[in-house]
């Protein structure tokens, strides 16, 4: 697995940091609510964050997404997910234990 940012390893177990949560499912827009405001989640953003449940490792999150989107290019999924989560991690929104 790629190690784009050097901070998130495949065996890390990601979960939202304290004070960060998804808005209510089924709302007009998918948002990640954080202390300073909200981040708008596009496309599969919400599904990815939901998989970061503090149980699955990053590798398992990616594998689950491969299962859900079998027609998508596996390498592209991996790159996009890791980039997305690394950005949340850099912002302090995501913990990786």
């Amino acid at each position: 697995m790629s190690d784009l940012m050097g901070k998130l390893a495949p065996e890390n177990v990601p979960r939202l940091a304290p004070g960060c949560r998804l808005n209510t499912a089924g709302s007009p827009e998918d948002l990640l609510l954080i202390p300073e405001g909200a981040l708008r989640l596009k496309g599969p953003g919400r599904a990815i964050v939901e998989l970061c449940d503090g149980q699955r490792s990053l590798r398992q999150v990616v594998e689950e997404l491969h299962r859900r989107f079998p027609s998508e290019d596996a390498a592209r999924i991996e790159t996009e997910v890791v980039t997305f989560l690394a950005r949340l991690h850099d912002r302090g929104v995501l913990e990786a234990v």
Binding site: N23, G37, A38
Partner: protein, 359 residues
């Protein structure tokens, strides 16, 4: 409607056990007998959620001075809001914090006045520092968003490194180190609080180094005093653009200080739907677009970034709420700021008055 409200600042009471010399509350405070009830707030929060407001900031005064804080948190969450409690910590014990967390509290912002107990208590006008230390530990032990807030000024800016070290060890995810903004009691005590240019110049590299060193571990937000800035702050990100404030008696304001502006007929949430207040009330539309702007704002490239600055500050310092914020170096009345800075950096009476507690 072009403007979408995102945050509701709920000043649920003006009562407070602290008497901070820089309190942002108005000098004329609402009394307990005038406060909205639990049911009133529940209705207001429901309306806010339906309008697309995302964040609720429960503040005061001290929001814990009300007995129904837990119910207010619950009402906020039921309305779909992210709930932040802005508190001094006084009035919080383990059981009450557990109840607040169980009610869905997302985040606590805990204030400190200094890192030294003696001066912290002096600035707060009460012996609260030791209590705050215990409360910080209680918050750290729970899985909840935690921001420390330190208001800085002439008398405590020298402790900046200690403040950062304290924040680092506190377990908070964020710390706001905010220079006093001069409204309410802070304006009354400005001569005693205004930092010197040297103090500010010293503070910036300390903050920048700490931000870099602590990246990914602790977010540090630093707010400079706008009197020393070249251009004004984008106050509230624009009048009636994203935020509204409701005072203890239910008056709805575009910002903390708007009640000082003469002729602004502040609508009440007791009498009107929140949506009407936001979209149609004269108060929220008074400075919303650009039609009120004088020169040099009207033709200035920065008008879409700072919206001409702060209307309340323009009124407080020039007597005209529709003047360019005098903080701006391009403002016709900028000399007012230069005089204040000159006086503040000279020898003036630095005694202060303490914020009173409305009964």
């Amino acid at each position: 409607m072009k403007y979408q409200p995102r945050a509701l600042i709920a000043e649920v009471t003006h009562r407070c056990p602290l008497h901070c010399v820089y309190c942002s509350n108005p000098l004329e405070m609402q009394r307990r007998s005038a406060e909205l009830s639990t049911e009133d707030w529940t209705s207001v929060l429901q309306q806010a959620g339906e309008m697309g407001v995302l964040q609720l900031h429960l503040t005061g005064g001290e929001p814990l001075a009300r007995r129904d804080t837990t119910e207010l948190v619950k009402a906020g969450r039921s309305a779909g809001l992210y709930v932040n409690l802005i508190t001094s910590g006084v009035g919080l014990d383990e059981a009450r914090l557990d109840a607040l967390v169980a009610a869905g509290l997302d985040h606590v912002q805990l204030s400190f006045q200094d890192t030294e107990e003696t001066t912290a208590n002096e600035f707060a006008g009460t012996r609260s520092h030791a209590v705050k230390l215990r409360v910080a530990e209680m918050i750290r032990q729970r899985r909840i968003g935690f921001t420390l807030n330190m208001v800085v000024h002439r008398r405590n800016l020298a402790h900046l490194e200690d403040m950062i070290a304290f924040a680092e060890a506190s377990g908070a995810q964020r710390v706001e180190i905010a220079n006093v903004q001069y409204y309410g009691w802070a304006l009354r005590n400005r001569d005693a609080l205004l930092p010197t240019r040297e103090q500010l110049d010293r503070s910036v590299p300390i903050l920048e180094a700490a931000q870099q060193r602590l990246q990914g571990r602790l977010r540090i937000e630093y707010v400079l005093p706008d009197y020393y800035a070249k251009y004004p702050k984008p106050c509230m990100n624009g009048w009636g653009h994203q935020q509204m404030l409701i005072d203890p008696a239910g008056r709805v304001l575009p910002c903390h200080a708007a009640a000082v502006i003469p002729g602004l007929d502040l609508p009440s949430a007791r009498e009107h739907e929140l949506r009407w207040i936001w979209e149609d009330s004269p108060a929220f539309n008074r400075f919303r677009d650009e039609s009120w702007m004088p020169e040099p704002c009207r033709s200035c490239d920065r008008r879409t970034r700072d919206f001409g600055g702060c209307r309340c500050q323009a009124f407080l310092l020039t007597g005209d709420a529709a003047a360019t914020d005098p903080v701006c170096t391009l403002a016709p009345k900028h000399a007012v700021i230069e005089e204040i800075l000159q006086r503040g950096n000279g020898s003036v009476n630095r005694e202060w008055v303490y914020r009173i507690d409305p009964s």
